[in-house]
């Protein structure tokens, strides 16, 4: 080992602060390292840094744009929502009005219907009553004449007198019926009178058969 230490072997202190030829070797090595780093390492790394910086910048820009678009979309959405609410309220209002109209109309129709049915019923009743009265008028006339003839025992030959008597009787009868109908309900008296008239007829027929 000591064979290496020439300076030390020279006695005294060694001059390790004085550079020797190693200086040039060191300089060359350092220059090689400098060239390699400068030429090969720095440019791609700087390019990478620039790319990343550019990417970050672009991403920030994009995110700003995106948030702007989001704000716009939210604005549009709330506007559309408000419009839709107004529209819905309008539709609801219209529907309510329509419903009211339809209800009114239907009530009106129903009332008209009721009135018409009642009217027709009354007409029918009046018609039936008239018919019955007419039937009874002819039937009762004959019956009464027959009955009266038997009871009186005289033939009523005189047509004119007979007709007068019958008519008077019928008028009285009619007057009775009219007073009845005005006091009671419409159908009752005429029906009962018709029934009683029917009964009368049956009785008369029975009586005739019995004889």
């Amino acid at each position: 080992m000591s064979s290496y230490y020439l300076a030390a072997a020279g006695g005294g202190g060694n001059l390790f602060l004085i550079p020797n030829a190693t200086f040039f070797v060191e300089l060359v090595i350092f220059l090689i390292v400098l060239a390699v780093v400068w030429r090969y390492a720095v440019p791609p790394v700087k390019r990478g840094m620039d790319e990343r910086r550019e990417m970050v910048r672009r991403q920030i820009e994009e995110s700003q744009q995106a948030s702007k678009r989001l704000a716009e979309a939210e604005d549009r959405y709330s506007k559309a929502l408000a419009e839709a609410r107004v529209e819905a309220a309008k539709i609801r209002e219209t529907a309510r009005a329509d419903a009211q109209d339809i209800k009114d109309e239907m009530r009106h129709q129903a009332e008209q219907e009721v009135a018409r049915i009642r009217e027709r019923g009354e007409e029918q009743l009046a018609h039936q009553r008239e018919q019955i009265v007419r039937e009874m008028r002819s039937e009762l006339g004959n019956l009464a004449v027959t009955l009266a003839g038997r009871i009186v025992g005289e033939s009523v030959a005189d047509d004119a007198r007979r007709a007068g008597t019958v008519d008077r009787f019928l008028d009285e009868l009619h007057g009775m019926a009219a007073s009845d109908s005005s006091s009671g309900d419409t159908g009752g008296p005429s029906n009962s009178s018709a029934d009683s008239a029917g009964d009368g007829v049956v009785t008369a027929r029975n009586g005739r058969r019995r004889r």
């Binding site: 080992m1 000591s2 290496y4 230490y5 020439l6 300076a7 030390a8 060694n14 390790f16 602060l17 004085i18 550079p19 020797n20 030829a21 190693t22 200086f23 040039f24 070797v25 060191e26 300089l27 090595i29 350092f30 220059l31 090689i32 390292v33 400098l34 390699v36 780093v37 400068w38 090969y40 390492a41 720095v42 791609p44 790394v45 700087k46 390019r47 990478g48 840094m49 620039d50 790319e51 990343r52 550019e54 990417m55």
Partner: protein, 246 residues
């Protein structure tokens, strides 16, 4: 303590500034320095070539992140001190100096037994002088190129009487730059040698503690060398007159 150290040194256990040497064509070359410099250079070159192949603008590797951090810091320093446009080559120069010196300094963590052949090359003035003189010559060239004749004006400012002092100051710049680095790293290796005199049973503790601290010193010295390089360029070539502070 001092006398003990000297005693140990005379006993042949602690050698300071002694190198195994080669003699080629009448030149004396420190073999260990060249070998360890070459190793540090290989590491940095491999690192650089790896980066050249893998550097990406997308997801960077950890090595790329380290390199980018240093690059960013260097660019910021250069930009704020003299402006990148004034001397764009200062950036790769400072980056190279930082990484090369850092790796060279960190060779000190290799086990003590290897120290005979691979010691931190920055513990030899040859490397530190080479780098410092290269840097200062570039500084002077840049100053003259950027400012022309006005560059020499600062030697007679603020008073012409101070010309000799200014000249000395300028000439000591490469010397202080190199010797600061050299002294710190050499002291680290000497410290390890001294610690090696302790009994083997206990020396591992202070040695490992010291080597950890030596890592920090290595980082700090690399940082200082690169930063001072930028500042010297700034003093020489900054557009406006900077206040020289030492």
């Amino acid at each position: 303590m001092t006398s003990e150290l000297f005693a140990a040194a005379e006993g042949g256990n602690v050698q300071v500034g002694e190198h195994p040497q080669w003699h080629i064509l009448g030149m004396t070359i420190n073999a260990d320095t060249v070998i360890s410099t070459a190793i540090a250079a290989l590491i940095v070159v491999a690192f650089a070539l790896y980066l050249a192949r893998t550097a990406t603008g997308k997801v960077p590797s950890r090595l790329q992140l380290i390199f980018e951090t240093v690059t960013e810091q260097v660019e910021r320093q250069v930009e704020s001190n003299l402006g990148i446009r004034t001397a764009p080559f200062v950036v790769p120069l400072a980056i190279t100096l930082f990484f090369f010196i850092l790796i060279a300094n960190w060779l000190a963590v290799l086990p003590h037994a290897w120290e005979e052949y691979i010691r931190p090359p920055t513990a030899d003035v040859n490397l530190t002088f080479a780098m410092a003189i290269f840097v200062m010559i570039l500084v002077w060239i840049t100053g003259i190129r950027v400012k022309g004749r006005h560059y020499f004006k600062h030697f007679v400012e603020p008073y012409p009487v101070l010309l000799p002092l200014n000249l000395v100051e300028e000439l000591t710049k490469p010397i202080t730059l190199s010797l600061r680095l050299f002294g710190n790293i050499l002291a680290g290796t000497v410290m390890v040698s001294v610690l090696a005199l302790m009994p083997a049973a206990i020396q591992w503790l202070p040695t490992s503690a010291w080597k950890l601290f030596d890592l920090f010193i290595g980082l700090l010295q690399a940082l200082i060398f690169a930063l001072l390089t930028i500042l010297y360029f700034a003093f020489a070539a900054a557009p406006q007159e900077e206040e020289g502070a030492h």
